[in-house]
């Protein structure tokens, strides 16, 4: 079974994001970038499937600028077998990504595509679902457990108020949630070996799909600064203050 894992290069989760002065977006100049944490969980799950003998090959794909090659190398160092970089310097929205991934699926014929449930930069939470729709494949989103057995994937999902387990016929789409696994550190020797694993360089034009943006970003602003709290004497004062602020 071949597993395809899309990985996105995003602003590092430790970096405090700053908005550009013209409010057109987040300033990414000289900012540390790394693999979307949910995608790391996806790579880890795929590599575990391979280590368990369930998967035979793990292919990682990234869409974005040349530097996404580093993100792919990280995935290869974790244990993926080969990479595909679809190079573009333009903004690609979830629908465009889903269309490109559909084309990659047509070429690669994986039985399972494991995606992060969302990317921490735009928090869209759309690509997996859109890809499932475009392929007309079953989907198990927000996975916290994945078991593949005899042509089926049993996916336990995190839903409001509990867990739900769905059985999907392969091929299928899975999107990963935080608690699915704890991704490994790529070992230093494996980082060296990853250098020798192949990465296929592609262009968006190779896939013949329409990736024109459907959305326009009007404005990006910093979240409002939290105001200092106040310690009150007793409960009646608290109630009257809350009333004055219109909270009661």
């Amino acid at each position: 079974m071949k597993v395809l894992v899309p990985v996105k290069r995003v602003i590092d989760y430790n970096v405090k994001a700053r908005v550009k002065p013209d409010q057109s977006g987040v300033d990414l100049a000289n900012v540390k970038m790394s693999m979307n944490p949910f995608d790391e969980i996806s790579v880890e799950e795929a590599v575990r499937l391979k280590e368990a003998g369930t998967a035979t090959e793990v292919v990682v794909v990234s869409i974005g600028p040349q530097q996404c090659q580093e993100t792919l190398r990280t995935a290869l160092a974790m244990g993926a077998d080969r990479g595909i970089l679809i190079k573009t310097d333009d903004k690609v929205e979830p629908l465009a990504v889903a269309k490109l991934l559909k084309a990659v699926v047509a070429e690669e014929s994986p039985e399972l595509v494991i995606l992060g449930k969302q990317a921490i930069d735009d928090d869209s939470n759309q690509t997996g679902q859109m890809l499932a729709a475009l392929l007309d494949w079953p989907q198990g989103t927000f996975a916290n457990e994945v078991k593949v057995d005899g042509g089926k994937a049993n996916v336990t999902r995190e839903i409001d108020g509990g867990l739900q387990t769905v059985a999907l016929d392969l091929p299928a789409i899975v999107t990963t949630d935080l608690r699915l696994n704890e991704p490994r550190y790529a070992s230093l020797p494996n980082i060296m070996k990853a250098k020798k694993k192949p990465i296929d360089m592609k262009e968006i034009g190779d896939y013949g799909v329409d990736v024109a943006p459907r959305l326009t970003t009007v404005k990006v602003t910093e979240p409002p600064v939290r105001e200092a709290g106040e310690i009150v004497e007793d409960v009646p004062t608290l109630v009257s203050k809350l009333k004055a602020k219109g909270a009661l």
Partner: protein, 386 residues
Amino acid sequence: MAYDQETRDALIEMVRRFVDEQCKPIEGQVAEEDAVPKDVVDGMKELGLFGISIPEEFGGLGLNMEEEVLVALELGQTSPAFRSVAGTNIGIGSQGLVMWGNDEQKAQWLPKIASGEIITSFCLTEPEAGSDAGSVKTRAERDGDHYILNGTKRYITNANKADLLTVMARTDQNTPGGKGLSSFLVETTTPGVTIGKPEKKMGQQGAHVCDVIFDNARVPVANRLGGEGDGFKVAMSVLDRGRLHISAVCTGVAERLISEMTNYAVERKQFGEPIANHQLVQAMMADSYAEAYAARCMVLDAAQKRDRGENVTLLAASCKMFASEMVGRVADRAVQVFGGAGYIADYGIERFYRDVRIFRLYEGTTQIQQIVIGRGLAKLAKDGQI
């Protein structure tokens, strides 16, 4: 070997991440319990840290000196006790074998040292032999296919965890000084080898030093590193390389402390404004920053020169002297910037202050470095090279 920039960046980034996520959060706990938790040690093994200086054909990474320095700079960003876990396998515990071992010795030991399956220590210091390394009294007397070792070694890092020791002992009892010494690989399971209790130390809790006692310990002749009489040369070549590694660790710790003190200085308010606005505090920050930068430049330059095959004995001694003294000054300023908080254990600054004191003592005291540099310069002048 020299790796390409992208691979090197990825490697350094992974070490940084491990330090940030696995080491920094438990610094206080490690000091409190005087132990690095097993899962963190296992994590360091899985990461491949134990083998960074072991050649690739023996399962290591074979980093060149510059790359090793870059890793050490990252390891310096947390309590030195973490580095010490892998420190002997990276440095003094393995390098005698890497530089002087024969093919059989290397094949037998290096792969297990690289994986961290076995831990190594370096036994030079004795109750009466420290800076005067040539005065080693531990005896090794030939008896057929074996040497019989007798003597006591002191302050041996990681001895209580060690499986394999590199031991300096006197094979020629009639030749005083370094020329009468040879070095041996000794398994700690050898009958007659006893490891003492870990010493109580000023700092670096979690890292341990112990006595190692040899009482008629029989060591096969095949375990001798180099020839008889090569012991002093083995010791010096091991220490030469180690000085650059230690210099990088000192620099890393200094950079960590500078980050701690500046972040504190912009938050802490006195006289109605952050203390970072006060010029006398700024002076401490600025001096620390400039000195740490100087040390970083020195150690990288010396490492690059060593990789190019140049003799760096004077440079390595200069780096060790400057970086270890520098981090002492920076730690002192960090306590000063933190004020009363710097003296309180919860803030961790006093812990670093105690931790860094050893850097001026081990792998050659500052005064030994001064002698190495002074003598070296005089020799250059005599040879008309300066």
